[in-house]
Amino acid sequence: MTLEAVKLAAEANQWGAIFPELLLACLALALLALEIVLPKKLHAYIPDVALAGLVGTLGGLFVNFQSATLGKESFNGLLLHSPGGQVMRVFFLLTAILVCILARISLAKQKVPRIEFYHLVLIITGAMMLLAQSNHFVMFFVALETVTIGFYILVSYFRTKTASLEAGLKYLVMGALSSGMLLFGIVLLYGVAGNPTLPGHSASAMHYPALAQFLVANPHNFLAGVGIVLVLVGVAFKIGAFPFQIWVPDVYQGAPTPVTAFLAVGSKAAGFAVLLVLTRDVFASYDWLVTPALTAMAAATILFGNIAALTQHNVKRLIGLSGVSHAGFLLLGVVALAGPVASVSATGAIYFYLFAYLIASFAVFGVMAHIGGADDSDQTLDHYAGLAKENPFLATILAIGLGSLAGIPPLAGFMGKFFVFIAAFEGGARWTLALAVVGVVISIYYYFGWIKAAFFEQWTPPADTAAPRPSRTPVNLVSGIALGCLALASIFIGFYQGPLGHWLTMK
């Protein structure tokens, strides 16, 4: 081991390739520094710094979208900078921006520390971006745990509320459990793939390409199969797929609304980014194992998510369970990818779906943040009664967001579903697709029920004044613009897919 070797290995660490993540990290540190340096009255502007930094990073990423490292590995193969990775980076940055905007609304109603929240969001975002590009199980695990532990804190961030803490605890236990399973799966894969008596074994068995090579050489290894299933369980927890969705409503309800949004969109998308890479590139030769598992999971997830959301009255639980069903639809795309006849457009369809989901979800969460009071775990459909009369802007945004989530044309969500359905059909998931259609029909009931509450019903104060409706936060400029943009984007993308449409034929 010479110095040369060390140097060589160190040079493989191309820090320039992860400049957005680095920027986020620096920004996060800068926030903490600013909190110490700045006088108290200026603290109110620190979130704006975070927001501006995020927007700047996004801009930088756009400028450097076709970077030199695109398509190449970096950090000794820990990361792979794929086009999909770039797309997900943009996705997470957008998510973070919107979460920050939501946080400005929600945190204002709470007596909790502010700056740390943004710090955490930035770190988690960076970790998610790394996660989406990881090409090695160590990187994967570390980034994943960073995200997860960050979320433990965020979920229980409103520590003066029992609900938030309880949600935090539940997320902690379930998250740790799933991490344990995931880790054990990784370990098994590592152990099998490094086994010198097996063909195709590798010294760096946690490197995805090496592992994939090994799996191709050993298409029916039992332990590898167990490992793959355990890894899938870990990822399924993240995306909230049945039967690992059970935590979703409780945690979504208890978590602060911006965190719920972050979980629902960011965490779920991270799970899918990982699942996409794993099923498509790593576990491809185990499609005999992965496809039936994912198919069953997708079908059950769609059905369960929609059916369970049907009777919900608390909108946070409702949106959580509807998110479960969306995970099911996305899984349908993954199934199409993993199937024997891989669909060409599945990857792009999933990305498209994710973006449509992001736009629609944040529109809804944005409205929820305005409607919810200080105790934002208690937000029911009744709180929306008469919204259309009192605040037509929010009501319209809500309707567009929910419509897009429900998959009603001409909104973006419909296009997402449409592409995923095409992919699923190409991938041969016929019966699951049929179930998905049933799911869509069921979902209309609760989405429409929500719209109904906002548009068709009048607010009648309950007989007992014990539960007054929380007053609605007025819409400020930034969130107004953000929500307006989200709604318009939902419509616009529905009509004109533009460059996003090219993803669908992206390899």
Binding site: I408, F414, F419, V441, Q497
Partner: protein, 508 residues
Amino acid sequence: MSPLPFDPLLVSIAAPLALALAIALGLPKRWSVMLAYGAFAIPVLMALHVWWHFGDAAKDHGYAFLTRYSTGLDGLGIGLKLGLNGISLPLFVLAALVGFAAGLYAIQSGAERLKIYLMLLLVMQGGLMGVFASVDIFFFYFFHELALIPTFIMVGIWGGRDRSYAAMKLTIYLTLGAMVSLLGLIMLYVKSGAHTFDLIALRDHLAAHPLAATVQNNIAGLLLFGLGVLVSLWPLHTWAPLGYGAAPSSAAMLHAGVLKKFGVYGLIQVALPLLPDGLAYWAHPLAWLAVIGNVLIVGLITIAQRDLKQMIGYSSVMHMGYAFLGIAAGGIIGPGGVVFLMVAHGLSVALLFLLATAIYHRTQTFALDEMGGLAQKTPVLAAFFVAATLASIGLPGFANFWGELAIFVALWKFSPLITALAVAGVVISAVYGLRSAARVFFGPSTAGLAMVTAAHPPVDITWKERFPALILLAALLFIGFWPKSLTTPINAALTPQISAKIGNATGR
């Protein structure tokens, strides 16, 4: 090409949508209302223009005025391709006319929150124009859904009795239909192997490489189920009367008059040329379902209705049965008759809904039992209503007759027994049609009506109501007296492809 410097089809889609967007972005009410006249009139002008020029226009596969706009999905074979053939042209004109009438009626209706009402109606109108102008199957579907959504909201906000339940039921039912038919379209897209939604390209491709029979059967089954829900094929129809009963008049006019035709239109435009064997496979079950369910059972149910609007809703369900029968009958006469009937029924049912609301404004009720003798006060309204009723029950002179006649003629070749049952439906429709007209208008005034009319002396049909009604009635009569105005393009569209493909009526 049309001699206009712009694409008339795109303009007729974009004009209403643009105004809708402008209203959404906060156009003042005065301007909204004023511009709405224009936005509803532009499609009519465009439609009449293309109709006039259709005969001379250059055609590709029977399609004139073809233009394609990319929306970024070229890789998937999806693009906004606009054009009209002999089947879509009549329906395009229908959509424009009924939309115009409904729009005019809505503008003067003075509905609560008129701006939003108009906005939704404009979205509907834009979508409808798009449905019939789209040559791309995806956009054909897309525009249908676009036009569908306002219906839900309009029923929910401006609806009548049971509006909440009706809106929900309508939404769920129609989503089911739309999703299942989407599934069928996706299956067609994937299985065809052409990887395009362009109808013309698909036709060419499938002519060279026809789909296997089982695949055709499956796709046709999905489409029939899905579109069957949308067109209220028995027993998937229960949303229709409820929804129409609750819907505000303009929404009901546009939905029952035009939007509902989407399903049948899809079967003729998409399934017939692309899936001939599949349709033939389902023809008998479909015909029996339509004749026993839609025509006879629903016909009897219509007789038993006590609510004017629900009755009209049921009658429209019944008439859709004839549309399915025509499709099952095949050949050129059957589907051609269906296209004819669609246009005619669209006009007549829209007229009926308009008049039903006009009646409501005078009687304050839709309950047939509480009405009577209104004709003494409002003779012209009565004349309009009777004319609309007679049109809808297929009196010669009105357009509906030709459609029904052609369908019966085609159907005999398919099955004389079914024809006999279907023709029996004509008697049933006469029973409920005349019964309702008599209940509302004729005979002595009822005590209830006298009370209402004492409070609000009923005026005869006003010009604000009369003008849209006249448009529809004139169109009905025009087509009724000059059927060739419709059959010439229909023949041109149906003859080349279909006579060769569907053999069960041997070219007749």
